[in-house]
């Protein structure tokens, strides 16, 4: 009951000075709002960085054959012919951490379409290749599983190839000849742009790997098997499962070296995510400075308020307020200021983030964590910066306080 009374008294005191209370709160409002907005922007940036890295294929594993050794001479990676189609088929069945698998083989050749020609690479892949690379078909369709089984002479063109062979017409349904083998174009890939090395990823033709193996390269071993893990976090697991499976399938026992290598891009992802996290922390720390400034504003106003209301404190003491009643009253005033400021600040932060999202087109993410953090922080600031003025008020001598003019 008594505590409620003190709360009511604190609230009334703030009401009496509406403008000043609001201006004091403004410091906290801006602080909390800035922290929430900055965290939202930071987290949005982190998300879009992750998204972009994922599109590079952070959960992608590339399995390539190991190196060959003849006596003391070691030939480079991929020189062994150990990866088979059966390996590729076994991986999705035996490795639960693997989402998609596509065999990969490659041929190069001159491509002719009516009176135009173009030299490019032909990637022999499975139907899941586009899922692994997170690549879309712009128009037309990808070849089907049936086409793969039948080594059908169908292909999908990258945009660079399509632009060079069919500058004015729709390539879908047309026929091109790749080293004199006719292929029917079933679709055109979406533009992917350059990769991290500056290579044009759109200068490519995708065809069923079976067709490439049997009709173009005539070399029955896979250049690589491309695999995507179920999530970027499962990369290690997928790698372990694949290693075990392939060692078993290739009958590699004990300490003998693998006859294949598995590479992934998770290091890149880790580095990029770490960078964006540092960015978030940086933004939030800059914003928390304004929260701190807001807290000092509260302390300043509470000190002014204690001086200005010295007489009131004296009156309250003369009618029986104890030091701790006065302390509680001023502390609660500071707390109400920072709490209200915190709540309004959260609304501003959420609104500000939405506005930034819609106007600047940046993705923003407001997490419960950032709201709880900034709200908790504003309470702590209220208590911390309110305590000194409140204590000053509580320690006043009633006689001096009553005489204060």
């Amino acid at each position: 009951m008594k505590e409620l009374n003190i709360f009511v008294a604190a609230f009334r005191a703030l009401q009496r000075n509406k403008l000043r209370s609001f201006l004091t709160m403004l410091g906290i409002i801006i602080g909390v709002g800035a922290v929430i907005t900055m965290l939202a922007i930071g987290q949005g940036a982190e998300y879009s960085v992750k998204e972009q890295i994922a599109s590079l294929g952070t959960n992608v594993l590339i399995i390539s054959p190991g190196s060959q050794q003849q006596g003391a001479i070691r030939v480079g990676a991929g020189s062994m012919t150990t990866l088979t189609q059966d390996d590729a088929q076994a991986i999705p069945i035996e490795c639960p951490a693997v989402a998609y698998v596509s065999p990969d083989t490659r041929a190069n050749g001159q491509v002719i379409a009516e009176n135009l020609n173009w030299a490019t690479g032909i990637e022999g892949v499975g139907v899941d290749y586009l899922q692994i690379r997170e690549w879309e078909i712009e128009y037309g369709d990808l070849f089907t599983d049936q086409d793969v089984k039948a080594s059908a002479k169908v292909c999908v063109l990258g945009t660079t190839v399509a632009d060079n062979l069919f500058p004015d017409s729709n390539p879908v349904g047309q026929t091109i000849r790749i080293t004199n083998v006719p292929f029917k174009v079933t679709g055109v890939l979406a533009k992917k742009g350059q990769n991290a090395m500056g290579q044009d990823q759109d200068d490519i033709i995708l065809a069923p790997f079976t067709t490439v193996l049997y009709r173009l390269s005539r070399f029955p071993y896979l250049r690589a098997i491309i695999v995507s893990a179920t999530s970027p976090n499962n990369i290690e697991l997928a790698q372990k499962q694949i290693t075990e499976l392939l060692r078993m399938r290739h009958k590699i026992a004990g300490v003998n070296n693998d006859d294949f290598t598995i590479r992934n891009q998770s290091d890149l992802a880790t580095a990029a995510t770490a960078t964006s996290q540092i960015l978030t922390i940086l933004l939030a720390s800059i914003a928390s400075v304004s929260l701190l400034v807001g807290g000092i504003g509260i302390m300043n106003i509470m000190l002014v308020s204690v001086t200005e209301r010295t007489r009131e404190i004296g009156i309250r003491m003369s009618v029986g307020a104890r030091g701790r009643d006065i302390l509680t009253q001023f502390l609660i005033e500071a707390l109400v200021l920072s709490l209200l400021g915190g709540i309004i600040g959260i609304l501003f932060g959420v609104g500000g983030s939405k506005i930034i999202s819609s106007f600047a087109g940046w993705p923003t993410f407001i997490t419960a964590f950032s709201i709880v953090l900034s709200f908790g922080f504003s309470i702590v600031i209220g208590i911390f910066f309110g305590f000194y003025p409140a204590r000053k008020a509580a320690m006043l001598n009633p006689i001096d306080a009553l005489r204060y003019e």
Binding site: K2, A9, R12, S318, V319, G320, A321, R322, G323
Partner: protein, 281 residues
């Protein structure tokens, strides 16, 4: 009896119980020998830097229930210091002060606050009302600091405001009230906790003569109801309305006389041409 508020009993609620226990033990409001205040060789020395200022140099003084005392003296005579000690706002350097058999000199700050809340009512020269706070809320103030329910708080405050004739103006702010009315609000605030003593420090100092007598009329009526009143004044005219005159000089009591025939403020008011209250506003 000093053990009633022993250091162990810091809990305010237990203090309240023990304080009310004392009140029951020493009930009997009309017993003239029952001392409400017993002061024995009270000394107060202030240190102003290296200089010691002897504000009180051994004051002994008893007040019984139902008395109406005026304390007079020139400025610097120690009467203000004396009032501060009486009001439990300050502690004596030496000597004992028993209020309702409680040795005030032994109490902590918090315990003094409790005494002020439960046993004393203050009326000041400058009214000391909270501005931008209604008359009702001002009167409610002492009840904020003890566990009075909101409903009871309001009832008691309205009752106190009725006693001083301000029932019609409970929602007025101090700046909407005349000086006399403000002082009546202050008196209502002093009364709201049913104190043992009302201490008034120059209550008429800021009021014109007619309003002063009106305030004295209220004090007289309250005193008739058995409330003990001690007031400080330097106006002999005002002291005439009280029943006992104590004069301070140089930190000591110079004279202590009872006034067997105090002036009746109600009668006095009839002789003064009436000033319409509304004009003052």
């Amino acid at each position: 009896m000093n053990s009633i508020l022993s250091p162990e009993s810091c809990g305010i609620n237990s203090d309240l119980e023990k304080l009310s226990g004392v009140e029951k033990n020493s009930s009997g409001q009309n017993n003239a020998n029952d001392s409400l205040i017993k002061i024995d060789h009270l000394v107060k020395t202030y240190k102003m830097g290296d200089v010691e200022v002897h504000a009180l140099r051994g004051v002994s003084f008893n007040v019984s229930r139902g008395e109406f005392v005026a304390i007079m003296g020139a400025s610097g005579s120690g009467k203000s210091t004396f009032m501060n000690i009486l009001g439990c706002l300050d502690k004596p350097t030496k000597g004992t002060y028993l209020l309702d058999n409680i040795n005030v000199g032994n109490l902590s700050r918090d315990e003094l606050a409790l005494i002020r809340n439960k046993k004393l009512g203050f009326v000041f020269q400058g009214f000391n009302l909270l501005s931008r706070t209604t008359a009702l809320e001002n009167v409610e103030l002492p009840l904020f600091y003890n566990s009075t329910s909101t409903k009871l708080r309001k009832e008691k405050s309205i009752e106190a405001l009725k006693k001083v004739g301000l029932a019609e103006r409970i929602y007025h702010y101090p700046n909407q009230l005349s000086g006399g009315q403000q002082q009546r609000v202050a008196i209502a605030r002093a009364l709201v906790n049913d104190p043992s003593i009302v201490l008034a420090d120059e209550p008429t100092g800021n009021l014109d003569s007619r309003t002063s007598i009106e305030v004295m009329e209220i004090f007289q009526k309250l005193n008739e109801q058995g409330i003990t009143i001690i007031l400080v004044t330097h106006e002999p005219d005002i002291a005439l309305f009280t029943k006992r005159h104590i004069v301070f000089r140089d930190g000591k009591i110079k004279s202590d006389k009872s006034n067997s025939e105090p002036k009746n403020a109600t009668e006095e008011l009839k002789t003064i041409p009436s000033v319409d209250d509304e004009v003052e506003e």
